[in-house]
Symmetry: C2
């Protein structure tokens, strides 16, 4: 994907923030010390390596770190953090670089710690349905490894992200309505603090009331409190039967109402994805498909044969009630894969709508009773400004995504309109009792909205926790909190 930077705002934080930290001398001293402590082959200053570690999948300006450590072990991470803390050099944990809000940008320079090489699956406990993995293990590798055990790890954010990165950003995705987000599927972790101290949180018990929930404090902290190096994860039984379906609807409201009715009827829907007409058009064009180009639901049900049959019938009933235009069912694995492949490619399909574009992906999450209103108002804003932007999301959770397409030839007024639309969408979500980000995280993109969402009191608490755990302020500075 071509990397551009379009927006004055995207530049300004980078420039403004960097001033507070770096003069090259102290970073040079820190890197020199790291070179004495770590073998040369795992510490890189190669410009292309640096560039690849300063940019995630979103539109943000690339801001490379000063060096990259390819960590092999928790000990490597601890050595790096001890040294960086002593020198006050920022540290940015890196998984696969598939974040979407600039989480990994080295906006104050510093050391990127790439945990991708820490990719050992340390333990799978079939009877307990849990596993222990190093932070760099990717979710598809884990599921591949689990294939013959009858178990799987359900969290699916789309990208084949590392589990450490998914924990750091509190990933969720299409299965969350049934299986929860990463937050609900982690039992414990090993993390390295800014001081270099290695801590263990949680354990292997399914539940515990033994003290503060440090595990969930680190989940979603985006590398600002420490570096996650190992995870103890819950696994789930592979369902005996799976059925997927696509159903078209005349309006977004009808599609949302169908899912609301299903959830309220206690039907344990496993996936309930809404794709708006722009997304359906993008998916059709990208994957050479021929779905109706109207709002559609992609549904999936997991269970026994009988349960899946019953759930499917219930879905059919509710879809009919809300003007659904027939179900295309796919029970065979190959058909289901094709269907979900189309959904998973929504991001790339969107980008293909305007060749040469980059995507500005943004997401909010609202109470489901406000979802239709939030989506339709957002689509109205997009249409009024003539901004091409597929809208799709996880209806069962009230979470949806907008990918605004940005091109370097866009006139400033168009870019400004996109910024206004994003701002209005976030304000609308917060006013509705929702959140500025359902699953992408804060990074730098949502940072300006944190105060509005949480209020000064909660932000002060977050800042005091950050300061208590990272007094030198070296852990991924400029993300989550100012």
């Amino acid at each position: 994907m071509a990397l551009h930077h379009h927006r004055a705002a995207a530049c300004s934080w980078g420039h403004r923030a960097r001033r507070a930290y770096s003069s090259s001398a102290p970073h040079a001293a820190c890197i020199a010390e790291l070179q004495t402590l770590l073998p040369p082959e795992i510490l890189s200053k190669n410009p292309s390596v640096l560039a690849a570690h300063g940019k995630d999948e979103a539109y943000f300006q690339a801001t490379p770190p000063d060096a990259v450590l390819f960590a092999r072990s928790t000990e490597d991470v601890a050595t790096a953090l001890r040294t960086c803390s002593a020198h006050g050099m920022p540290v940015i944990p890196f998984g696969t670089g598939t974040s979407l809000e600039g989480h990994i940008a080295a906006i104050h320079g510093g050391l990127s710690i790439d945990c991708g090489g820490m990719d050992t699956i340390l333990e799978v406990n079939q009877e307990d349905m849990d596993c222990r993995v190093e932070a760099g293990v990717k979710r598809l590798s884990l599921n591949e490894h689990l294939r013959d055990t009858g178990l799987f790890f359900p969290i699916d954010p789309g990208a084949d992200a590392s589990l450490g990165g998914m924990a750091a950003t509190r990933a969720s995705g299409t299965n969350a309505v049934r299986y929860g987000t990463l937050r609900e599927n982690v039992l414990g972790m090993q993390a390295v603090l800014a001081s270099g101290e290695v801590i263990q949180t949680g354990g292997r018990a399914r539940k515990s009331s033994a003290g503060y929930d440090l595990t969930r404090l680190f989940v979603g902290s985006e590398g600002t409190l420490g570096v996650i190096t190992e995870l103890q994860l819950k696994l789930h039984a592979q369902p005996a039967a799976v059925a997927s379906a696509v159903c078209s609807f005349p309006t977004v409201a009808d599609a949302v109402d169908t899912v609301t009715a299903l959830v309220q009827s206690a039907v344990p829907v496993a996936r309930a994805e809404l794709l708006d007409k722009t997304t359906m058009a993008a998916v059709n064009a990208y994957a050479n498909l021929s779905y109706a180009e109207t709002p559609a639901l992609f549904l999936e049900f997991h269970g026994s044969d009988a349960a899946v049959k019953e759930q499917s019938e219930e879905a059919g009933k509710w879809a009919q009630e809300f003007n659904g235009m027939g179900f295309a069912w796919a029970s065979a694995l190959e058909d289901r894969n094709k269907l979900w492949h189309a959904r998973h490619n929504a991001y790339y399909a969107s980008m293909a709508l305007r060749p040469g574009c980059v995507g500005w992906p943004t997401d909010v999450c609202v109470p489901i009773s406000r979802l239709t209103e939030c989506i339709t108002e957002t689509i109205k804003d997009l249409e009024e400004a003539n901004v091409t932007a597929p809208v799709f999301g996880h209806v069962g959770d009230g979470n949806f995504h907008v990918i605004m397409l940005m091109h370097e030839d866009d006139p400033p007024a168009y870019t400004k309109a996109q910024k206004t639309i994003n701002q209005r969408m976030i304000e609308r979500a917060i006013e509705m009792g929702g959140t500025s980000t359902g699953e992408h995280g804060v990074g730098v993109g949502k940072l300006p909205h944190m105060l509005r969402e949480h209020g000064q009191g909660a932000m002060d608490v977050m800042a005091s926790i950050k300061h208590a755990l990272d007094p030198a302020g070296v852990m991924n500075p400029g993300k989550v909190i100012l």
Copy 2:
């Protein structure tokens, strides 16, 4: 229930700790100031009121506070905390007093803030399946209020506790295997910090990745970080059909194996309670029932008619595989209530085994593959020391309870044996990768085991968070962390 205090250890923490804090003068000054700020009818120094607020349902020595505030509002709580922080007077939040590890004991004196009067159900959002309640609302009142909405709040720790107290102690109980613990069922909260500042955490979105998870940091913090005054809770659809059953087994291992097989087969069991033979005898005697006095499983399934039927059949199949001696099914509400009434009365039934006794309830939670071993070793310890103690628990979670019966006439050697058994049970659980407490919390009872469970690094993190949020150390001092 008669209140005794038996153990030297139980006394020693009270005496040792109190020295660090109270000389009566500063507390008198703080209380005098509170009397100028709050109406006299909500601030009590009545000895019987003080006594009732210094003792929970466990065996611990009563340690009354110096005064009790019957808070009417968040503002009352904020006024009290501001004043107490300024004077350095301890504050102990109080719900219904049904905790089990001495959570509410005023071991350093101070002000007990009774939130029981803050019992308004502020909002029920049927479409969003959530509600907002004041902290003093009790779980049975909430479910009574919800009865006609088709929704319910599933967390059931046995006692009719306040929801604020349940959040503060991360309550779970019999339904957790299907619906999660309180941690998974809270969307957000309002809390008052030691400074008197009121914060909001979370929101109404089903998921969010916007910053540190303060909601889950406060859940289980046992009043040591602030006072929870309001909760936004998830609700669930009342199942269309419910079936409960009791099945006897020759051994604890057979019963546990049955549940393990069910969970691994992805059967969504709603409740899976193990009662050992001592508990079954206690329940029979207490409620005039005639169950077989062997280990038994109490199971419950929720879903559609067809789903419940299928799940029940699956349970029957697995029980037979593991030597189950027939199921007694109860589908009618009245029969189910009778069955669960017996289970819920296990605590009081246990106490009735030795008239004049108090119970020493303790609980641990381990990976389910170790549950049989953990329970049978514990029962062996109890039998060897001839200690009467029903054992029962939530098998699906790996969590079990032991209620050791204590009498004031017990010889010191007997009391010492009980202490050793508890110590061994906790050490065993931690060694197995489990936790010193699955759902009772830390309070003062499990405090000595926190370091062993979490290690110095994690305990230091907890302490630094505590210090950051409560620099004067007034929030329920002597609980959770030293």
